[in-house]
């Protein structure tokens, strides 16, 4: 059994705004296991930032029932000094990097070590080591204003992991970066997760980021978690409408479907033809399914749109296909596919009679 490193129970954060209560986080339970890269996705205003700030108590829950347990310690029971010690074990990076402009890169990273037991020489060594790890050795004596966004975030990461934390919280850390830099930073996080066993909690509104590195996902809306689960499960069987929306932002399946339905051939499907969405993952993709359909049932498959992703080394595919055959055979083909552990969703069934001359 995986061991939870972060255990949030019944978290509420309520702000007073113009005498109106705003429930930024509304009775949320969240468990994150050691070694996870856990993604919390949601649109802005969903309460993601507020929720992850509860992990290191930069934001305190406003209800008495809340429990915040990190690494087996109940953070809400600590005094200020012990809480500060615990915070040092939780690194955090930010959307706008939050570096000190008045300090060089070296000094920015060393700033994190002010309270460490290392000697002056050891600190210098540690900083050099960290800069090496994030690939910024050559920029050691530059000031933040001389760096690009991606480089600034690397400094942020070096600073966040300087005290060898167990957890790294990423608050929209790639949202201010261009796509290519985003990928580089995400890969760095994944690399740190592997090399240092760092548990990463990242919040983002970009499903692509989640898809690239997370193994578990929570989808957040209006202060609540509407769906949580493994990445694969969420991707192949999303349940909440918001989850589907988010997944569509990377697969574009819904938009493709809308376009497909516009086509005259689809709008007037003949009897015996069905428009289906096939979803499959892992092993089931290895079988020559489409050939099999024709061989067994003489049902032909016309692929209109396809999206294939590799998530955590497992292929996950979604196809929009028109199956055509005699109505009976088509039915048999659908049953057969379900037996093959392919998820089948019938979107449109042909009703128009085949014209006779």
């Amino acid at each position: 059994m995986a061991e939870p490193i972060i255990d949030l129970k019944d978290i509420c954060v309520t702000f007073k705004e113009d005498k109106r209560d705003v429930h930024a986080v509304d009775h949320v339970d969240l468990q994150i296991n050691r070694g996870d890269i856990y993604g919390v996705v949601g649109y802005s205003g969903a309460g993601k930032s507020t929720l992850i700030r509860v992990i290191n108590l930069l934001q305190r829950p406003t209800n008495a029932e809340a429990r915040v347990e990190v690494n087996g310690t109940n953070l809400l029971g600590l005094n200020a000094a012990s809480l500060r010690d615990e915070r040092r074990k939780i690194g955090m990076i930010f959307q706008h990097f939050n570096l000190m402009h008045s300090l060089t890169i070296t000094d920015n990273v060393e700033f994190a070590l002010k309270k460490s037991n290392l000697s002056k020489a050891d600190r210098k060594k540690r900083v050099a080591e960290l800069l090496e790890l994030v690939g910024l050795t050559e920029k050691a004596n530059d000031f933040p204003s001389q760096l690009s966004g991606g480089q600034k975030q690397r400094v942020g990461i070096a600073r966040a992991i300087a005290n060898r934390p167990d957890i790294l919280i990423s608050d929209e850390a790639t949202s201010a970066l261009d796509p290519k830099t985003t990928v580089a930073i995400l890969d760095l996080l994944a690399d740190l997760n592997q090399k240092l066993g760092l548990t990463v909690v990242l919040i983002t509104h970009e499903m692509d980021a989640v898809k690239r590195i997370c193994n578990r996902v929570a989808v957040m809306e209006a202060g609540r978690l509407v769906e949580t689960g493994d990445l694969l499960q969420i991707f192949s069987q999303p349940e909440a409408p918001l989850t589907k929306d988010f997944i569509d932002t990377t697969t574009h399946l819904e938009s493709a479907l809308a376009a497909v339905k516009q086509q005259p051939a689809i709008a007037h499907l003949k009897a015996g033809s069905v428009l289906v969405q096939l979803g499959y993952q892992g092993a089931s993709t290895d079988q020559p399914l489409i050939t099999e359909l024709y061989r067994r049932f003489e049902v032909s498959a016309n692929i209109l749109y396809g999206n294939l992703e590799i998530l955590q080394n497992t292929p996950v595919g979604n196809l929009l296909v028109v199956l055509s055959g005699t109505p009976k055979h088509t039915e048999q083909a659908l049953v057969f596919m379900k037996e093959q552990r392919v998820s089948v969703k019938v979107l449109e069934k042909g009703t128009e009679e085949v014209a006779h001359d």
Binding site: L58, R84, R87, F94, M100, H101, A112, I169
Partner: protein, 230 residues
């Protein structure tokens, strides 16, 4: 050379040194400026930091303390300095034992400067990025480290600029304090230059103050630019 100076500004040469001389005036002005800057500066800095951290979004948010400090600063800032000079007399007598001379002027000067500088410090430090403060909190730092390591460090370039502004205003105040018995260049300009129609003295006192202001401004700008890496 002396002949030439005597010819163009006879009164200045006559009143250069000795009791109530210009040389002494320069010294007294520097004396008042220095001590007011030092003491008023430290008090103002502490007050300004206190205002920032006890503000409702501050790291030690405390509405009661903030409101008290805010009112004190506002009241002291609203009293015209000339009146403050008079109002502060009894306090001055208690604190420094005299109400005249540069020493006697220090108490009202500090009372006038500290709240002014406190506001300047407050306005400067509230501009330090909240995100940077938050990142220091996330690193497990308490108020003291955040004040010294983040606020004062990140705010330094602007603090230098506002300090220069404050020192220049202190020089202005010393001239006023001088006129009511504090001594210094202001006193000489008024009592000799203005009241005895010795215009060359007024002119020289003005020029000396201008030189002082320019030197401080130039040094401050240089320093601020050196530490500003934004």
């Amino acid at each position: 050379m002396i002949d030439f100076l005597t010819k163009i500004m006879p009164n200045v040469v006559d009143n250069w040194s000795g009791d109530n001389g210009i040389l002494l005036g320069i010294w007294q002005t520097l004396y008042m400026t220095f001590w007011t800057t030092l003491i008023g500066g430290v008090l103002g800095l502490i007050l300004g930091i206190a205002l920032v951290v006890t503000d409702q979004h501050g790291i030690l948010a405390n509405r009661v303390v903030y409101n008290i400090l805010d009112k004190v600063v506002n009241i002291l800032r609203s009293i015209p300095f000339v009146i403050l000079l008079a109002v502060a007399f009894p306090l001055t007598q208690i604190l420094v034992g005299t109400t005249i001379g540069p020493k006697g002027a220090l108490v009202p000067l500090i009372l006038g400067t500290a709240p002014f500088y406190a506001r300047q410090v407050q306005n400067t430090l509230v501009q330090v990025d909240d995100g940077v403060i938050e990142s220091a909190e996330a690193l497990g730092y308490g108020p003291w480290t955040i004040i010294t390591g983040v606020y004062l460090c990140e705010g330094l370039p602007d603090l230098i600029r506002t300090s220069v502004l404050t020192i220049i205003s202190i020089i202005g105040l010393t001239a006023m304090a001088g006129a009511v018995g504090g001594g210094g260049l202001g006193y000489i300009a008024i009592s000799k230059g203005y009241q005895r129609y010795q215009n060359d003295i007024t002119l020289v006192c003005t020029l000396l103050i201008l030189v002082l202001v320019f030197v401080i401004q130039a040094l401050g700008d240089l320093w601020a630019r050196k530490v500003d890496h934004r």
